[in-house]
């Protein structure tokens, strides 16, 4: 590039010229989307094993709540999905260096991550919080009854601080045992070294499924901290970030309108609902402005289902995690799941 500065200048001026074009012209395509389409696969980063959110099924395919959002985005872009297992330390560098196009790996959105790591968070897909798992034979209904109990907690987590704060602000007596490794923590809890253990509810509910008899352990209703989990894209390609965001919103809108994976094709063809007609590309030009073809939302919902289906399939009461919708119910059912209008 350095040898031909005029090429760069030309490209810049072309870009400006394109931006200045009137709105009815096809707007510039997202470079990330362009490279995904030309390669034919979406690279989506997930954790290697996180029950409910991303695990391997019997056939060696990744399944889970996060994986379903990867699937929806891949289907919207009409490409194959390639799941890339990453560790917590690898994930942000992998995203920023474009080894993966997006992450869907139970990442908590925080201000420092927003500004410090070059990340762009998609809408929150799961409102998590810190909670407690205890034995059902302790016969307690609320975490406030845990006064004097021994709680196991993982070292170096925000949970460790939240735990002390919460017990102090509720004037409860706390005995905490701080473990450096999660395996040791779970083993100690199983051996009854502690009465309860604490952590992100999604995480601890998943870990509970690994116990000898998961039914003997319950998740207490109290949520003592905010942990909004969201997929992430890299900063610098707003269009791509918006495509990911609106694919997630599409699953939420589909839930509102009772459109499921089974009936989405029918709905796309016949529905008279104006918002669905816009979503499924039957009216308006939103898909073209996004740089997608009109059927993108139909494919996304057909591949992954609507938000309720994704939730119930992976985390809901019929799964080993047995999570209630709680904060993750739709906004009109007392939850926080709220998609902006598709118009």
């Amino acid at each position: 590039m350095d040898q031909t500065p005029w090429l760069g200048k030309l490209a810049t001026s072309l870009a400006f010229a394109l931006c200045a074009l009137p709105a009815y012209a096809q707007t510039a395509q997202s470079p990330t989307l362009a490279s995904i389409v030309s390669r034919g696969t979406l690279n989506c980063g997930v954790y290697p094993n996180f029950p409910g959110f991303e695990t391997l099924d019997r056939d060696g395919n990744y399944v889970g709540f996060d994986v379903d959002f990867c699937k929806a985005v891949a289907a919207a872009a009409n490409v194959q999905l390639k799941v890339v297992p990453l560790t917590a330390t690898e994930r942000f560098p992998a995203l920023v260096s474009k080894s993966v196009d997006m992450l869907a790996m139970v990442t908590t959105r925080t201000a420092s991550r927003d500004f410090g790591n070059g990340l762009q968070f998609a809408p929150v897909t799961f409102y998590d919080g810190q909670g407690f798992v205890t034995r059902s034979k302790n016969k307690i209904k609320s975490a406030k009854e845990l006064s004097g109990a021994t709680i196991c907690v993982l070292q170096g987590t925000t949970s460790e601080l939240n735990l002390a704060d919460w017990f102090r602000s509720n004037s409860l007596k706390l005995n905490a045992v701080t473990f450096a490794s999660e395996d040791e923590l779970l083993r100690a809890y199983e051996a009854n070294r502690c009465d309860a253990f604490t952590g992100g509810i999604a995480i601890i509910a998943g870990r509970r499924t690994n116990f000898r008899d998961p039914a003997e352990h319950i998740v207490l209703p109290e949520v003592i901290s905010k942990e909004p989990l969201a997929p992430v894209t890299a900063e610098g390609d707003e269009k791509w970030s918006k495509i990911v965001a609106w694919t997630i919103f599409a699953t939420m809108i589909a839930e509102e309108k009772d459109v499921t994976a089974a009936n989405v094709e029918q709905a796309a063809k016949d529905s008279a609902d104006p918002e669905l007609r816009r979503l499924f590309g039957k009216s308006g030009s939103i898909a073209r402005d996004m740089g997608m073809d009109p059927d993108w939302a139909t494919r996304a919902i057909k591949a992954a289902g609507n938000y309720r289906e994704i939730f119930e399939r992976n985390l809901g009461v019929k799964t080993p995690l047995r999570l209630e919708r709680g904060l993750n119910a739709q906004w009109d059912k007392g939850g926080l799941i709220y998609a902006p209008p598709f118009r």
Binding site: G148, V153, T178, A180
Partner: protein
């Protein structure tokens, strides 16, 4: 030309160059680290130490509240001892330097006075990061001291058993030593932890001895003395009397002192206010608890290090010429007096130097406690590091603390070593 050939000049030039190079390396390393931290917007310095820690530590032994005085006392003690050592080395310092014995006595006295004078407190989540680190240090020192004492006793007994004439005793001691020595320390510690958690009953089904001592997999709960109904001076006098009488009973072996010691203890016990442990809600409360993490770490360290100490003791005893033992027997000494008066004093000359290495190893190996949730110095420092992000400062502090612990052990064992070596050599 002449200067270049002068060995003194050459040596100084080379040494100066080496010192400069090392100094430059250290300086650039530090400079780089500081620059990088500044570039990443990470603040440096030790100011964070006074901030509220906010996390819970499961084991909180007393820590001194007025740190300044303790630091001054430790500094003064270190200066005294350094002066004694330097006085031996540099003739011009000799008139000012105290003798080693004097400096030791003085420094111990200074530290004892400081520790007696300061107020003691226990860590709370509202305490500072420094308090948290000191709690970790205190836990480390507790395990290290207890470990060294117990490992020495067990090691000596096992070592002497290994040389016993009784076939069963000799071979079982050998087998036990071999087994313990050949398993890594981490495995020892995790084994004992798993044993304690799974062997002892859960807290609701705790076992009890006479209704006073409770045991379950959350700990061994003993009744604790909270106060004495007699005034403080009398308590101190009676306690002191009991200790002296007990010491006299052990070393002088007179029946009278044993009776006196028992009497004094009886007085103390009868006038004490007790705090008995009992099950309340989720846990056994009251009394003092020995927690499974502490016990597992101690057992692991003991199993591992006493095996090595047993081997050291065996080598020490075997180093005593057989003629010495035969001579002792021919003087009419029985087996035990011969061991105590002839063999062990000579064996100690061989035993003490490697023994001090075991002590150092044991003190540092307490950091294995991280694996089983024991809040030792390393365990607590990891939390502090995660919560503050001040990696370099926290690690530096931890290193300084370990250095102080190791240096104290080395000093004590060196001094002891000088008393057992052959005089005048």
């Amino acid at each position: 030309m002449y200067l270049r050939r002068n060995p003194v000049v050459r040596a100084s030039v080379y040494q100066a160059a080496a010192i400069l190079a090392v100094g430059w390396l250290a300086y650039t390393g530090l400079r780089n680290a500081l620059d990088n931290l500044a570039a990443r917007g990470i603040s440096t310095g030790f100011r964070f130490l006074v901030n509220e820690a906010g996390f819970v530590i499961s084991e909180t032994p007393p820590i001194p509240r007025q740190l300044g005085w303790v630091a001054c006392a430790v500094g003064a003690a270190a200066l005294l001892i350094a002066a004694a050592y330097l006085g031996k080395r540099f003739s011009w310092l000799r008139p000012f330097a105290p003798s080693k014995r004097l400096s030791l006595v003085l420094s111990l006295a200074v530290i004892a006075v400081a520790l007696a004078q300061v107020e003691w407190t226990r860590y709370q989540p509202t305490g500072s990061y420094l308090d948290a680190l000191l709690t970790g240090l205190s836990n480390t020192i507790t395990v290290a001291l207890l470990g060294c004492v117990c490992a020495t006793v067990i090691g000596f007994v096992m070592g002497i058993f290994q040389l016993s004439t009784n076939w069963l005793l000799r071979n079982s001691a050998r087998a036990a030593t071999e087994l313990c020595r050949d398993v890594p320390l981490l495995v020892h510690v995790m084994f004992w932890y798993a044993m304690i958690l799974n062997f002892f009953p859960p807290v609701r089904e705790y076992a009890s001895v006479l209704g006073l001592v409770h045991i379950c997999n959350r700990g061994l709960y003993l009744p604790a003395i909270t106060d004495f109904k007699i005034d403080q001076i009398t308590t101190l006098l009676v306690t002191g009397g009991a200790v002296v009488a007990l010491a006299a009973a052990v070393f002088g072996r007179t029946k009278l002192s044993l009776i006196l010691a028992l009497l004094a203890s009886a007085v103390l016990i009868s006038t004490a206010s007790w705090d008995f442990p009992e099950l309340q809600g989720f846990n056994i409360v009251g009394g003092v608890a020995i927690r499974p993490e502490f016990a597992a770490l101690l057992f692991g360290l003991l199993a591992y290090h006493s095996a090595f100490i047993a081997d050291i003791v065996v080598s020490g005893i075997k180093s005593v010429p057989i003629g010495q033992i035969e001579a002792a027997y021919s003087l009419g000494l029985r087996r035990l007096p011969a061991l105590r008066l002839v063999v062990i004093p000579q064996a100690l000359r061989v035993v003490v130097p490697p023994l001090s290495l075991q002590y150092l190893g044991l003190a540092k190996n307490t950091s294995i406690g991280v694996a089983i949730a024991f809040p030792d110095l390393v365990g607590v420092s990891r939390t502090v590091l995660y919560q503050t992000g001040q990696a370099i400062e926290v690690m530096l502090l931890v290193m300084v603390f370990y250095l102080a612990v190791s240096f104290s052990i080395a000093l004590a064992t060196n001094m002891f070593n000088q008393t057992v070596q052959v005089k005048g050599w």
